[in-house]
């Protein structure tokens, strides 16, 4: 059973054991509009919390995804490159960007839960 947390930059991360799966929220995709391009990180890339790790571009904006936690990228959803529209249709499911092996679970615990994120988007 995985646990989900959110960042202020509208990313979600599911934690399953020590592996986190990262994507952008439904709120984020709605703000972006039609997504036209996605760039996912190379497997093996080591990132610190807050580092730019992926790119998402829509007709309105080009944005970076910042690593929600420190760790090593262990899997990337390369299929997204060919189907960027998946980010619009299933942002919090099939359109995950990458999986990361966490170095410090405390970073995860400090992120927002669903209620806090909901409050954040309504603020």
């Amino acid at each position: 059973m995985s646990e989900r947390r959110y960042t202020e930059d509208h990313e979600w991360i599911d934690l399953d054991g020590e592996i986190g799966t990262v994507g952008i929220t439904d709120f984020a995709q709605e703000q972006l509009g039609e997504v036209v391009f996605v760039e996912v990180p190379d497997v093996g890339k080591v990132v610190a919390q807050g580092d730019e790790t992926a790119v998402v571009e829509s007709v309105k904006a080009a944005s970076e995804l910042y690593a929600p936690v420190t760790g090593e990228v262990v899997e990337a959803n390369t299929a997204l490159a060919d189907t960027p529209d998946l980010v619009n249709s299933d942002p919090e499911g099939d359109a995950w960007f990458y999986k990361i092996k966490l170095s410090d679970k405390d970073e995860f615990d400090a992120l927002m839960d669903a209620d806090a994120y909901k409050a954040h988007t309504e603020a």
Binding site: V36, E57, V59, K60, A61, A62
Partner: protein, 961 residues
Amino acid sequence: MRDNRLAFAEQEESEEFIRRHIGPGPDEQAQMLKALGYESLGALIDAAVPARIRVKEPLDLPPAQTESAVLQKLRQYANTNTVNRTLIGMGYYGTRVPAVIQRNILENPAWYTAYTPYQPEISQGRLEMLLNFQTMIGDLTGLDIANASLLDEGTAAAEAMAFCHKASKNKGSVFFVSKNCHPQTIDILQTRAAPAGLTVVVGDENDALPEDAFAILLQYPDTNGAVHDYAGIVEKAHAQGALAVVAADLLALTHLTPPGEFGADVAIGTSQRFGVPLGFGGPHAAYFATKDEYKRSIPGRIVGVSVDKNGDPAYRLALQTREQHIRREKATSNICTAQVLLAVMAAAYACYHGPDGLTKIGRRVHRRTAILAQGLRELGYTIAHDNFFDTIIVQTDDWTGSVTEAARIEGVNLRIFDNRVGISLDETCTRELVERLWAMMAFDSMKELTYEAVADRTPDAIPAKLERSSDFLTHPAFNSYHSETEMLRYLRRLADKDVALDRSMIPLGSCTMKLNATTEMIPVTWAAFSDIHPFAPRDQAEGYHLMIAELEHMLAEITGYAAVSLQPNAGSQGEYAGLLVISAYHASRGEGHRNICLIPSSAHGTNPASAAMAGMKVVVVKCDDDGNVDMADLKAKVEQHSANLAALMVTYPSTHGVFEETITEICDLIHKHGGQVYMDGANLNAMVGVCKPGQFGSDVSHLNLHKTFCIPHGGGGPGVGPIGVGAHLAPFLPGHRNMHAQETAIGPVSAAPYGSAGILPISWSYIELMGANGLKQATEVAILSANYLAHRLEEHFPVLYKGKNGLVAHECIIDLRPLKDETGVTVDDVAKRLMDYGFHAPTMSFPVPGTLMIEPTESEPLAELERFCAAMIAIRQEIRDIEDGKLSRDESPLAHAPHTAGDLMADDWDRKYSRAQGAFPVDSLRSNKYWPPVARIDQAYGDKHLICSCPPIEAYQDAAE
């Protein structure tokens, strides 16, 4: 009595141009003032502009002059320039501008008065030519994708440096530059590297590359003309994880292996010698090409192919969200306006000559150079390199002085070194010139050289290994227009697709699309201005220097600054230069640590981008609900960063088009904390003759000569962005190796000492034509017209942001958000529907999303303002039909706009509005109709299926099927 009458009559005549430039005549102005409830222009200005910033004295400029008098005066200046046979090279070459291109592009308002193609449906003509430009660059360099375009070769190299630093696998901070690159390029790289935290190492490219080099820059052929095989060097760079950039000459690439084929990752350079006049340094379009994998990091604008809503191919700017200024402080470049008109000319040159024609030109230039070298060898000279294309270095040793003197007498400019001379030939060089050069350098040699005889014994000087074998410019665009008749019609066909100022008002807020008077444009193509090399000896450019000095003086008087530099060749370039000047000033006072730049959230994106490039840390200041700087937040941030405060960047009148009352207070606050005020001059058209930024507290401003001072927008460039500075900053204005500058000067920001000098006569002429009085009137009428429009539209759309007395400055913002909430009609719908009325939309969603910002300028007559209002009001009625439930947004003409002839002529018409409503929503359109060539363009489709070169002709057939 009689004398007085004569003086009055003469004054009236000399002020004739003022009423040609200013649209509304005296009666119309009175009518507009009456509608606003003011008795006179003076009363309106008193109410609109804060008293404390007003100037007391009129501008100290000469009175207005007639058009013929100004041309005559400028002709005298031009006559003191000397057009010599210039063989200096260094990236600037003689070229034959095809007359059909000179007259039908460079001198044609349909091309030069257009705006940047942000509204693609009404810009298909120049977008097509820009796509030709990109295809030409991609083909010639052997790389996958090119942009359109950059400012000059030197800054293109700097863009490549920033690009490579981001893209390279090697995370070092050294940019290795071959010592055989053009010296002005190396100078710009030095200027740009330091604030970015990078180091430029200049050296021999054959030596080992430093381990921490992230990229290497090579010149091809090199600055001395030598042609080297760089494949091994590129391979070694790649082995270290470094990228390879090649600055390549386009004409040479018709005969040399292109950079893409020997592994280069990036190619940059200038397209000047493809039919664009020298102009004492510019404007010219630079290019940037790279591999497909890096396409999303390319600086500058890229044209791409998409489809319109009918599925037909259509062009538009691609990947717009990647435009660096949108990334604000995270940007690695601030490039914005580029050199569209000149890129269009270069592409047209390639269409006109085609691959065979260009190959012949290249061949001719090379042969003449080889024959020249052979003859000089026979005269006893040593030629420095065996392999060259069009440039040779001649070892002249003890004869150098004599050769220099002989050249001077002959009226030939060579590139002079200590004991060598450089000679660069170009397409204008004839065999007679080669013989003249021999005669000039023969001295006491008894050898009789004849061209034919020497030619017979001259081998080519391009090594077989580097001879180009690949095809280029195979697309029909480069193989269909070789007769003048076809070329003429092609240019007409393209121009007819676009909306420019020669068709209708372009009410773009913050862009100041005013009249570009014909008289102002005429001197641009005088040979005495257009055919001067930027590095020609100073005594050959006397007229230029005179005109430049006067223009600097006039602009300083207008802005209230002590000194002006005309070097920056775009507004963003001016911002960057101004911030570097501020940094240099702080450093000179032992306060080099000051690096915080405060920028209001409403600022244009280039502000934070320029600040980031200048090595400053951006701190954003909030704006209040009225769009003004939030004083409480500003005070808090100034105090928090007091010790490190470098500058505040502020736009005035504000980006919201309002004269903020607090501006002097803001300036005082910044100065009190040791900072400098950078005032963005984009909105200077609201201030000329009324107030002076240099007097009410600003230390630096850039001016957009392509806005306030009549240089046409060229469809997206050229721009000129000079900076004015206070006396304390004057010692730090940009220098250049080819001009006198103080030792404290910052390095050059442009490749040429006076940037785009070739178009400065436009602004000089405008100021001379208008005089102090006319310039002030222009400002006043610009403010009058904006307020009149706001007044006329107010009962139909809410007008956002007003200053004191309910007045705006020179532009106004109308709010469409309430209508969107109610009906679903977007800003885009309104913009596209305006095309059916024959108008270019106002600025969309800047500075506030969901709004339109309208700037009429002083040049639009009342009738045109009314025509625009009628269109806006008719559109409001179309929206009301949706509000009233007569039809839905999706069924309305707004959703289907713009309407092509094809849409309206379709056999089936099942829309809820009539064909006539689609095409002629107001009656006046029946006698004067612009037909949009494509329907609304699908932006997302083009960004998902990125194509940035001319698609094969079958693609058009497929789309049509």
